[in-house]
Symmetry: C2
Subunit: 300 residues, 2 copies
């Protein structure tokens, strides 16, 4: 089954200890798509400005991402400028230019409305809600960020009540629930209404929590983190992309999806922007998955 | 095969968000023994003062720990006072009273000299070296702490060259190698001479590294961390205790040992001092190990 992702398409400028890139293709929906496309058909819903380079449209289309949901508006494309230092664990934002993102209203066609899997990547929770209102009973994944927790908490809490799978990072989970312990924080997020919760811990792996089951998996050990921008979105793309191929989600499917998501994210951090994930094939994934099993499974 | 542990026996006073305990039994060798005894015969080599409560001697002896290597000297027993706040991840030392520890010379008998497994728990690296000089060709595990890295680095580097398995935490590994990335830090520790390296990441699990193989396992998810004092020593006790039962160590034995170590440490943090690990049996371990497999193995 196909998947629709709502999120940003951005021009990122990033500096890490390994180098620097100016105005490369980024954004939550772009990173998500680059992983999800490996498993299923991806419809991208976003907004760009008149300045958006046509080569990036061609690039996404060549990767099989369906772009009919990208609206082009008067104004500039969303831009993010940031840097990473030391072990590249924390992004330091230097500048954010919202541009056309500030007038974004998702443009939903008939074709979109019947898609059974949706991922609400990180954008304003009111925009996320707005999209859900026009959809027919889908399986919904959600991501957000501390900025929305601080500025639009009520709106975000309303979205959380509607979603099946909430993908948060450690800080977001702690900040939304007031719980330091991550298992308690995950449980707290299900009490807020999310049916299932994934807590991303970056280089430390991931915790999955539902009231019936809990999983904890390590990250794939990467020795050279070149640029972690978009790793969380890539993770979500692998997770939701794999789950979208299943009619009914069993526990073993969730574990498998978490493993694919982990592998997708490990490729993402090994290059700037979409450099590495753009080249990803199912074959490369399977090869690293085998290695991941050797490294992390007790029984292999 | 039996195991000898060299380390401290201490009187700990600790305050955490869950309560407070005064002068309870602690120390690296005591915590190590409480886990290792589940798998094998443990010889404890340490020093105590005249003030050491006889009830603690009885307690250790009742648990089967062999105490002929504990020297009693004029003066006070080593005391540590500390506290934990928030999510109990970092110990804040309030006071340290070395007492008789400052004159500690390990007392090795004929019976000790032939023991084939040794764990050098956290004490002065010169004392660790001194013990190794009197032993016959054993399998050696090592722990240390930032204090020795800062004050006796040369001595510590000499010990590292002699050991088979170096168990370090994240900060120690980074500080000894100057590498932020943990896989690189682990590799760096093997270049310093340790044949195998385990990096403990607390609530985030553990990385095992040897030039031929790498493993990464998550921690067992604990919801109520009551008191983490001694969790690293308990981990080492489970790890070395299990490995001591093997004539030849295969990769599958290492994974199994890491899993037991993880489980032992998870029990340790669920109570003050040795409260929980004192009650541990192989049966309890196996039960939680089964749960751990469900939570963390990709294939189960």
């Amino acid at each position: 089954m196909s998947i629709l992702v709502l999120g940003t398409v951005a021009l990122d400028s990033v500096k890490t200890p390994f180098g620097e890139r100016q105005e490369i293709l980024g954004g939550s929906a772009a990173h998500f798509s680059m992983a999800a496309r490996i498993f299923t058909k991806v419809y991208l819903v976003s907004i760009i400005g008149l300045d958006f380079p046509p080569k990036f449209i061609k690039f996404l289309a060549d990767k099989g991402v369906i772009l009919s949901g990208i609206k082009k508006e008067q104004g500039n494309t969303f831009r993010w400028q940031g840097k990473y230092e030391g072990d590249c664990n924390t992004a330091i934002t230097i500048d954010t230019q919202l541009g056309v993102l500030s007038i974004f209203k998702p443009q939903i066609s008939k074709e979109h409305r019947v898609i059974k899997n949706i991922f609400l990547a990180n954008v304003d929770p009111d925009i996320q809600s707005c999209l859900l209102d026009s959809m027919k009973n889908p399986f919904i994944g959600l991501d957000s960020m501390n900025y929305w927790i601080n500025t639009k908490k009520e709106s975000l809490l309303k979205v959380i009540k509607r979603v099946h799978l909430f993908v948060a990072n450690e800080q977001e989970a702690r900040s939304l629930t007031g719980e330091n312990n991550l298992v308690k924080a995950a449980a707290g997020l299900t009490k807020l209404g999310a049916k299932m919760v994934v807590i991303k811990k970056g280089e430390h792996g991931v915790i999955f929590y539902s009231p019936k089951v809990i999983f904890s998996l390590p990250a794939f050990p990467v020795t050279e983190v070149i640029d972690p921008t978009g790793a969380g979105d890539t993770f979500a793309g692998g997770l939701m992309g794999y789950l979208a191929t299943k009619d009914k989600i069993r526990n073993s499917d969730i574990k498998q999806a978490l493993a694919y998501a982990t592998i997708c994210a490990s490729f993402n951090v090994e290059g700037f922007g979409l450099e590495k994930t753009a080249k990803l094939t199912r074959n490369y994934l399977e090869k690293r998955l085998k290695e991941y099993r050797m490294i992390s499974s007790l029984t292999d």
